[in-house]
């Protein structure tokens, strides 16, 4: 029967980081425990057996990576001065170009820079295009609104008829006069619903045109800034 201490003792014996106190305790236990002495002797014997391994020579292999063979470039991913600052400088130049509206005009034998010209952004042209777009959109929306209204009107009329039929069925003894009153009430409700719906659609369309107007204002502002710089 083996000592349960050997589970801890054997690995500890091979642990070089074991404290002096723990090692002394281990040695003291070994003095009195034949099982642990045997377990340790076995462990040492196995280790010695494994250590009979004789290193084999390394076969021929390509030890230098291709990257290092092809180019004698450094392995370390360190950037040179320009490699480090070029992206930042590029971003700065782009920002300046955008800020001052720089234009580069390349001709056959020369090139010219222009600062602050608003020729790149033709505000009048943009305004005209936006106005045209607005007109087309208004016409389209008006048409869509009319179609929607007529569809809703038809559907409601059909619903009203069905409701009326149900009412007649339920109250067979109703007079013609009371039916006329019900019809008049339905008609009033229908007109009111239509009016509310048209108002809502109109608000929706107005918000779209508000966006277009904002774009026009932006175009005007750019044109104004351009003229100030000139």
């Amino acid at each position: 029967m083996s000592c349960h201490e050997s589970l801890k003792l054997v690995p500890d014996y091979f642990d070089e980081t074991l404290s002096l106190q723990a090692r002394n305790a281990l040695e003291a236990h070994l003095q009195v425990c034949a099982d642990c002495q045997q377990a340790l002797a076995d462990a040492k014997s196995i280790k010695a057996h494994l250590r009979h391994w004789q290193d084999e020579p390394v076969p021929q292999w390509q030890s230098v990576p291709k990257q290092l063979q092809d180019k004698s470039a450094p392995v370390k991913p360190r950037f040179s001065f320009w490699g480090q600052w070029a992206p930042l400088a590029g971003a700065f130049v782009m920002a300046v170009a955008v800020m001052f509206n720089v234009q580069l005009q390349v001709e056959d034998n020369s090139f010219t820079f222009a600062f602050g010209s608003n020729a790149g952004i033709d505000a009048h042209k943009i305004t005209a295009q936006l106005a045209q777009f607005e007109t087309v959109q208004r016409a389209l929306q008006q048409q869509t609104l009319q179609e929607l209204s007529s569809q809703i009107e038809n559907r409601q009329a059909s619903n009203n008829t069905r409701l009326l039929e149900t009412v007649i069925e339920q109250f067979g003894d109703s007079t013609t006069r009371s039916l006329e009153q019900v019809m008049a009430y339905f008609e009033a409700q229908r007109q009111e619903d239509l009016r509310r719906m048209q108002t809502s659609y109109q608000r929706l369309a107005d918000s779209d045109f508000q966006t277009i107007r904002s774009m026009q204002q932006l175009a005007n502002y750019v044109q104004y800034q351009g003229s100030q710089l000139q």
């Binding site: 690995p11 091979f14 391994w53 020579p57 390394v58 076969p59 292999w61 392995v75 370390k76």
Partner: protein, 196 residues
């Protein structure tokens, strides 16, 4: 110049693009890494593959080596990770078990020797290969985790704390794996009447 200083000088030169410095750095450790790979994989082809992966990993991460630990510790951490990757990829344990079933004939060993360009003494190498094949056969009875602990403890002389860190386990778990591996090896060797 100490071994650590030499390593650091070679690393620095290799980082500056010196292929020669890199080659010298590899030469210092390739035998250890190759034999580590051979014990884990059990055959020359896979050992070469693993060694190449290890040194490629070292090359790619060389700029990350800060010198906080010894270069060998860092190197074998990479070697350990590559070995684990390889075992996952190729189900190494299974393939090794099938290899262990095949007795390596003298002809196979001689073929290997013929392929070894650096072989100086064929007789000695033949004896080494036969002895090593028997050790690989012993290690083959262990599962992959036990085998790695034995490799790192017995052959690489790492502390249990280092092994625990590499394998992302506690030191006590590493010790338990080591103890279990020793018991299995003892039973195997007794069965083969090889343990004195």
């Amino acid at each position: 110049m100490s071994s650590t200083d030499q390593d650091e000088a070679l690393i620095s030169a290799a980082l500056d693009g010196s292929a020669r410095a890199w080659e010298r750095l590899v030469k210092r450790y390739e035998s250890r890494v190759y034999n580590f790979s051979l014990r884990l994989t059990g055959n020359q082809t896979e050992a070469l593959d693993l060694m190449q992966e290890v040194f490629l990993g070292v090359y790619r991460n060389l700029h990350r080596f800060r010198g906080d630990s010894q270069f060998t510790t860092w190197l074998f951490r990479i070697a350990h990770n590559k070995a684990v990757d390889m075992s996952r990829r190729k189900y190494m344990v299974t393939s090794l078990s099938s290899l262990a079933g095949q007795e390596q004939s003298d002809d196979d060993v001689l073929d290997h020797i013929a392929n070894d360009k650096g072989a100086q003494d064929p007789q000695r190498l033949l004896s080494a290969k036969q002895s090593n094949a028997e050790i690989i056969g012993c290690l083959d009875i262990l599962n992959w985790e036990q085998r790695l602990v034995v490799e790192l403890k017995v052959f690489q002389s790492h502390t249990f704390d280092e092994i625990a860190e590499m394998q992302d386990i506690s030191a006590n778990t590493a010790k338990t794996r080591f103890y279990t591996a020793l018991k299995l090896l003892k039973a195997h060797l007794e069965h083969n009447h090889e343990l004195s």
